[in-house]
Symmetry: C2
Subunit: 414 residues, 2 copies
């Protein structure tokens, strides 16, 4: 399978203010996006891909800087989300540090005197992002998405599309996600935020003006996050208790140091933290973890998730979870499936027996990818202007009960 | 049941150097300890209690400062570890910040010119602590402990006693512990250490000289630790997504802030972190987490834990785990039990169905405490000079297969 190749990001400017959940608004903003494949004549083969915490519009192909897209193994010609069939859109959310208007950009408010937003960038929610995405989709002349797709925080956006614009999305593919964060999820986010906010280089979020970068806090935040992305078993398999080969002196196993690296897993985490602190923006980290915290579509329905999804019952869903994901465990996906089944919505559910924890949604697991491929075959079959030759099912589609809820389970959970 | 009452800590000075695993040694040190109950004429009713990361010699009763001991619910007259029968010793390990010689004490090395150790305090291991404890026990005139007991890191010390001094300990009670840290365990320790070490107030560990305290790092370290001590479910039950009652303005659910507290769990964690940073020493935190990292008795036996425990086969063991403990999950305790069974050592195993995660070992769960009570009844029955009236079993002891391995399971794990 080949890549979509070299991709140039595009930018779309919006002069009309975007009202936000918080009551504030975002004025005069730009969204950066990429597209792969071709929008068909009926304009009904568009698939929107929503990104998670540490990602961007650059979903597939190779960027001008030479970086491969974060979901390149899934999106491309002949890949599970086949760009020969679909017009795929990767979009960067407002508040990000990867191109769309965010805290590192100049605050257009005259009172800001040309300074960057920093901590003054307004708090954005999953719903705000979906509203911003909907405007871009509308401008592209797409009345209805063939599908909206996302993993983790991206999966929350995919779900929110079906709640805010149910008539504008045919299929929702929500991978490794949850209907809301647990107390433990929020707790991990909060520790990461405290590490950043209490870094003396943070300066209340106005570090750009101060000429500093709160790298210490970003490093610790990334290290914490990274632990929650991996399963206990995969960390054990990858590192175990292996020590740094250069560590032991005089044939001893350890250097007996409290500050130096002794174990490989420490070296790995420090490297991940260092790398992250070089490119990620601290205010963006705060904003995105807060968007995760706030997401709770059931809240407006007295905590009843089934009531929340009543509006989305005409959409069709694929929900995917991974057995070793302890950040958003399969149980969290089953809550979503239950709410959809309660509404007699058409839902397929796959619980993939994969060892990689939460990160599995980004990896090329054959069972996972075959579920995704089968589902997008089904989405393609629903297109009004489908190419009959291509649409002939070369692989079995995920079986469906003709509109009745269907739950497919891939692999097993013990 | 009553408490052991007001307790005065005692101190014992050691002039002879303590050789350490690292190859260094500890000169001229003091150990602080407390005792509860009375040493009998045969001097065979002593039980040593080993402490975990954030604890001390103050196991039971009320300190001169008015603090209740950390295991007061377990240790006292008529309690599961009954001080009417046993002479219980709580001991503070070297490297601690609670009284025994540690990084906050003056370095006796003349080259240090009367400065505190700080980062120059030598790295200590679980085995070093056990050696220090053994000297104190010897000085108390106790040739053999009726039992050594500990939870978490304390459980590792209890296990290490049976490996280093098998002839000097009759019973070992190891609660909520593991035979070594996993990669994930080490990873969490490392993030906490990085938060401390990269705090600008840390000054390479010589913050006392600099007149600072790395409170930011200590706060983050404690917050991370705290998450791993609680189960996901118990955090959910305790906090869920509850917001601070004073948080919402104008009837809104949230303040929409990236830096202020929105959720109760954030408030709780910040409070725990703040409190901890007021009394705990940063170098001690590094030393104790490193002792956790280094503990690996199987390492000297090519990773074969059964081979490691061959020397301890004459000791008798109670191993206890808790179903929702994800820091040291039941599987980790079962590894210990298997190694003991492989050696035909006498071992009882209880897996307690408790919701509180790792912290359960400190709590007063009726099933947990009944297992502990029954086991210590059995220990009492083995004393040479037992009081026949008291030793008559008023409660059923944990059954034993007359020296054959026995595994008791309390509650169920799914």
């Amino acid at each position: 399978m080949v890549s979509v190749g070299r991709i140039e990001p595009q930018a779309m400017h919006f002069a009309e203010p975007l009202p936000l959940t918080s009551g504030k608004q975002l004025n005069d903003y730009t969204l950066v996006y990429e597209t792969y494949g071709t929008l068909n004549a009926a304009r009904d083969n568009a698939v929107l891909v929503c990104h998670a915490l540490n990602a961007s519009h650059h979903v597939a192909g190779v960027s001008p800087q030479g970086d491969t897209g974060w979901w390149d193994n899934l999106v491309g010609p002949g890949k599970p989300l086949d760009t020969n069939r679909f017009f795929v859109i990767g979009i960067n959310n407002p508040g990000s540090c990867f191109g769309s208007t965010g805290p590192t950009h100049v605050n257009p408010d005259p009172a800001a005197n040309g300074r960057v937003y920093g901590a003054d960038f307004p708090v954005v929610t999953v719903e705000d992002w979906v509203d911003a995405q909907a405007r871009l989709i509308e401008r592209l002349g797409i009345a209805r998405l063939a599908a909206v797709l996302g993993g983790s925080l991206g999966g929350m956006q995919a779900l929110a599309w079906t709640l805010r614009y149910p008539e504008r999305v045919a299929h929702c593919v929500a991978v490794a996600t949850a209907p809301k964060l647990s107390a433990q999820n929020i707790a991990f986010n909060e520790v990461a935020r405290r590490a950043i906010v209490t870094d003396p280089d943070f300066h209340g979020g106005h570090y750009t003006e101060a000429g500093t970068i709160p790298k210490r806090g970003l490093r610790v935040a990334r290290m914490i996050g990274h632990i929650t992305y991996l399963s206990d078993d995969s960390m054990e398999a990858k590192f175990g208790r292996a020590t740094r080969s250069e560590s032991p002196v005089d044939g001893a196993r350890h250097n007996y140091s409290t500050q130096d690296i002794e174990f490989q897993v420490e070296s790995y985490l420090r490297y991940q933290g260092d790398k992250f602190s070089e490119y990620f923006d601290a205010n963006t980290y705060l904003l995105i973890t807060r968007a995760l915290d706030y997401f709770d579509p059931a809240h407006g329905h007295d905590g009843d998730l089934s009531a929340a999804f009543a509006i989305a019952r005409a959409c069709r869903f694929l929900v995917v979870s991974f057995t070793t994901d302890w950040r958003f465990a399969p149980q969290r996906s089953r809550e979503i499936v239950k709410a959809l089944v309660d509404n007699r919505a058409e839902v397929s559910y796959a619980e993939i027996d994969a060892p990689h924890g939460h990160d599995a949604f980004l990896l090329e697991d054959p069972r996972y990818h075959s579920v995704m491929r089968a589902y997008f075959e089904r989405v393609a079959q629903g297109l009004a202007t489908r190419d009959e030759r291509r649409a002939a099912p070369s692989r079995p589609a995920v079986p469906s009960g003709d509109g009745a809820p269907y739950s497919a389970r891939e692999g097993s959970s013990s």
